[in-house]
């Protein structure tokens, strides 16, 4: 699936985004380097997908304006509103999930369904400080061979994003967002790798307990970067949820062997 690169402006930021597919809109916030994936291709088969580069990440300039994740989420909501007037499914991964969570709380009228992949806002866990971008890349995966299959981000981007994350409090428990999870009324899926060392094992249940319509999906044998460790499993869960929301728990696949 060919994604077209485009640009928009919101809150004074020039924001790149990539668009493909037709159908109901899906807005995605992805970590740098995880954007070109089978998940994006699979979603674009059925939906109009907009993958946004959040200010201060990837190839965008250093972001010194956003003062909190909520602040960045407000910018993201304006950006999304400028590219689609319809309600959309919002999907965020890792840091992008933190932004998506805040955006759904701040702009609930825009979000039809929320998909959080490896969210870190609730009960994050300290991982050893990485020496460099390559070192940071390795701890994202359950298996080294999966890490080796994907190139890590450049040291410049790593330094820039690390500084933004530190300043916005990424990786620190967000008590305010936890207190407001009950305000999220759209169907919500939170997906975690079973070997994700960036969050505690207790984190998933908090989403389930506090968001009124929330399902939890645990991906076996995966670390934080599920798209790297178990891409087919992630695609299966996310695409099913985007289509069926909370009814994705119903079996839709046929078990027929021979008619």
């Amino acid at each position: 699936m060919l994604f077209q690169e485009k640009q928009l402006e919101a809150d004074g930021f020039k924001i790149r985004y990539w668009e493909a597919g037709q159908g109901r809109p899906v807005v995605m916030f992805d970590p740098t380097g995880w954007r070109e994936s089978v998940l994006h291709d699979a979603l674009a088969e059925q939906y109009q997908v907009f993958s946004l580069e959040l200010p201060g990440t990837g190839g965008s300039p250093v972001n010194t304006e956003s003062e909190s994740i909520g602040d960045l989420a407000s910018t993201a909501a304006k950006a999304a509103a400028s590219i689609t007037s319809e309600k959309y499914t919002l999907a965020g991964t890792s840091f992008g999930a933190s932004v998506a969570l805040w955006q759904t709380i701040l702009s609930p009228e825009q979000v039809e369904a929320l998909i959080l992949v490896s969210p870190m806002s609730i009960k994050p866990q300290q991982v050893p400080t990485a020496a460099d971008a390559a070192d940071a890349h390795r701890v994202l995966f359950a298996h080294e061979e999966n890490a080796a299959k994907r190139s890590h981000i450049s040291q410049d981007i790593y330094d820039k994003e690390s500084e933004l994350s530190r300043r916005l409090g990424v990786g620190v428990h967000d008590a305010e967002v936890e207190a407001r999870l009950g305000d999220i009324h759209c169907p919500t899926l939170a997906v975690f790798g079973q070997e994700d060392h960036f969050v505690t094992p207790e984190a998933p249940r908090v989403y389930r307990e506090k968001i009124p319509n929330c399902n939890i999906a645990l991906v076996y044998d995966s670390g934080h970067c599920i798209i790297g460790d178990r891409p087919e499993a992630l695609v299966n869960a996310v695409v099913d949820y985007a289509e069926h929301w909370e009814t994705f728990i119903i079996g839709h696949q046929s078990g027929l062997i021979n008619p």
Binding site: E112, H185, C186, P187, P212, N213, H244, W245, E246, T247, I249, I250, G251, H252, Q253, S254, G255, L256, I257, N258, P259
Partner: protein, 368 residues
């Protein structure tokens, strides 16, 4: 007429559960749970002592209201404590299970109980389809094929392979063989024409649950007609009715109990999120479901299926007369009752079992 107690083995604090399925395991305290199963087995022992003919167990998942996700494990434990009463698995949910495994469990239980097994096959309530992610549209096909495979696996003395629509096994040779030859009594729990017809054509019993007497009679009339067409007449034990019950010393006391229920009144349906419930029903009936046409609400506000009603309610004479209606109009020969209701504790259940045994069973024995 015979009496059966449906041993739900419910968690004793079930009245505190939220009105939604599944019930989060966080509500289960292990100590209370252990005590609840002990109390449930005490109820089974008392039922045997009071003259009940069967104890029944049913597969239900993800809730402490009926806390027997693996009914054959529960039935095995009870079979060891209760030495004479029939052990009725009513039953396994066939679309969810490996039919060969079910056959093996039934055969083992018939051996452990020394030939006291009654086997039952069910499709299950709509929520159960989600437990092992079975496509609801294929539940009926799985049930029909599963029954065929189990009956073959239990009766075929030589290894065979099975090339089914939903199941493929290249070698089946179930051990141990049944104590009851060629088969124990088998009951098909259903309301659907195709499975009622299956039961009639295979000379199996029929189980109907929780419907009013008029609705039940329509089903049993068809069953008896199709049995005649298949060349046989069902015996008294072949038509089983499962209905909820609350029996007290007097009608007044029973009615007062019922009126005291302000919410979560006992009923046959399982409360689920409305979108999920409607999507399953649509899949089961081959219809489409517009998910985005349904506005999601709060978990509580979104729930359906919390119906009112109880099948048998009153003093002993009243309950006996209500049961007689099912006997006379539907040909029911075995009445299967869950005494554990939502707000009836263990002590009260024991009292009901004793009351039923002493004052109702002698009356229903006379129904011929």
């Amino acid at each position: 007429m015979k009496a059966s107690m449906f041993a739900g083995m419910g968690y004793s604090q079930r009245a505190t559960f939220p009105s939604i399925w599944p019930v989060s395991p966080v509500h289960a305290d292990p100590e209370t749970s252990v005590q609840s199963y002990r109390e449930g087995m005490d109820e089974c022992e008392l039922a045997e002592e009071m003259g009940f003919d069967w104890l029944s167990f049913s597969e239900h998942h993800y809730s402490g209201r009926i806390a027997t996700g693996t009914p054959s494990v529960m039935a095995s434990a009870v079979a060891e404590r209760c030495k004479k009463i029939k052990i009725a698995l009513l039953g396994h949910l066939l679309p969810l299970n490996n039919p060969v495994r079910v056959a093996e469990e039934l055969a083992l239980l018939d051996n452990l109980s020394n030939g006291r097994l009654v086997a039952g096959f069910l499709r299950g309530t709509p929520n159960e389809d989600q437990v092992y992610t079975v496509n609801p549209a294929e539940g009926r096909g799985r049930l029909l094929e599963g029954m065929d495979l189990i009956l073959k696996a239990l009766t075929e003395p030589e290894p065979f392979s099975w090339e089914g629509r939903y199941y493929q096994f290249r070698t089946v040779a179930v051990w141990p063989r049944l104590v009851q030859q060629p088969l124990p009594q088998v009951v098909v729990g259903t309301r659907s024409d195709d499975t009622v017809r299956y039961a009639a054509e295979h000379r199996l019993g029929l189980g109907v649950s929780f419907l009013p007497v008029g609705e039940t009679a329509k089903i049993t009339d068809k069953y008896r007609l199709w049995c005649e067409e298949a060349g046989w007449t069902p015996g008294p034990d072949d038509i089983v009715y499962r209905g909820s019950i609350y029996v007290a010393e007097t009608d007044k006391l029973a009615n007062e109990w019922f009126e005291s229920l302000t919410q979560s009144r006992p009923g046959p349906n399982i409360p689920m999120r409305r979108t999920v419930s409607e999507a399953i029903q649509a899949a089961r009936t081959g219809n489409t479901f517009d998910l985005r046409g349904v506005v999601a609400g709060s978990p509580e506000g979104d729930v359906v299926g919390n119906s009112l009603g109880i099948n048998f309610l009153g003093g002993p004479d009243t309950v006996a007369s209500q049961i007689k209606e099912f006997h006379d109009r539907c040909g029911v020969g075995v009445i299967d009752m869950p005494f554990q209701q939502n707000k009836v504790d263990h002590k009260a259940v024991m009292k009901e079992i004793e009351l039923f045994g002493k004052e109702v069973i002698p009356q229903i024995r006379e129904f011929e």
